[in-house]
């Protein structure tokens, strides 16, 4: 199983067991996450034997649906609960990617998760990066999981 398949598997597992939202892969990997519109991005840094960042890019309306399901209550605006939920998704994805890359867990450190959001923004990789961008779909819309690792 390659890295893409493992990220797909762990993303589906996290959404199924913790968020209670059905998720499936939405086609082949993308070359770029493009311009993100009315979205929120949760991200977590990796340092050590593998350096990079794991991000999840979620359109606002999908983030609201995900957070509502995650918390078991209606959430209708982008607030601290939504930012915390998307950050926690990045944290869980990052932790599982760390486990994939480092079995003993000691040679990679994770940052604390953070979020950015906005009307229009980009999330660009610098040169010398192995880039994986995987699209996913839910009943309320699509989102992307992006892994950037230094070569």
């Amino acid at each position: 199983m390659d890295m893409n398949d493992k990220i797909i598997e762990t993303t589906i597992e996290i959404f199924t067991t913790m968020v209670m939202v059905d998720v499936s892969a939405d086609g082949p990997p993308l070359q770029t996450s493009g311009t993100l519109s009315d979205s929120i991005t949760g991200m977590i840094g990796l340092a050590g034997t593998h350096k990079g960042v794991l991000a999840i890019h979620v359109p606002n309306h999908v983030a609201l649906a995900i957070t509502s399901s995650f918390l078991g209550m209606d959430v209708d605006e982008i607030n601290d609960d939504v930012r915390d939920a998307v950050g926690e998704l990045a944290n869980m994805l990052g932790g599982n990617v760390k486990t994939i890359l480092s079995k003993n867990g000691r040679d990679i450190d994770l940052s604390l998760p953070s979020t950015i959001s906005g009307h229009k923004y980009g999330f660009k990789a610098t040169a010398g990066i192995d880039l994986v961008i995987l699209p996913f779909k839910t009943a309320s819309g699509t989102f992307m999981v992006e892994l950037q690792l230094e070569k």
Partner: protein
Amino acid sequence: MGHNVLLVDDSSTMRKIVGRALRQAGLEFDTIFEAADGLLALEVLEKEAVDIVLSDINMPNMDGISFLREKAERPHIKDIPVFMISTETGDDIIGEAKALGAVGAIKKPFTAEMVSEIIGPFLQ
């Protein structure tokens, strides 16, 4: 009579999810205390009667490993059982946590059934 539990995680979402999983698992608690990092968790343990702690590892201010280390130095709270509940379940990290007194670990993502299986026996 139920028990008191302390949930330690910098994510308020995750504290709610863990609390929900405990209820779904049918585990009875009189009070669910919450703390956003290890420092705040120590404050709760100093003030409240807590029977069991579920703690994240990767947190600001004082992480889960430092929390265990500090707790082990305080004789009046050192024996309160702590389960790590984290995405970080590599052998080295969990081994370090157990050496510092953690009694078990739950990997995120988790189900209510997993929580019940791991924590339930400690509440008998």
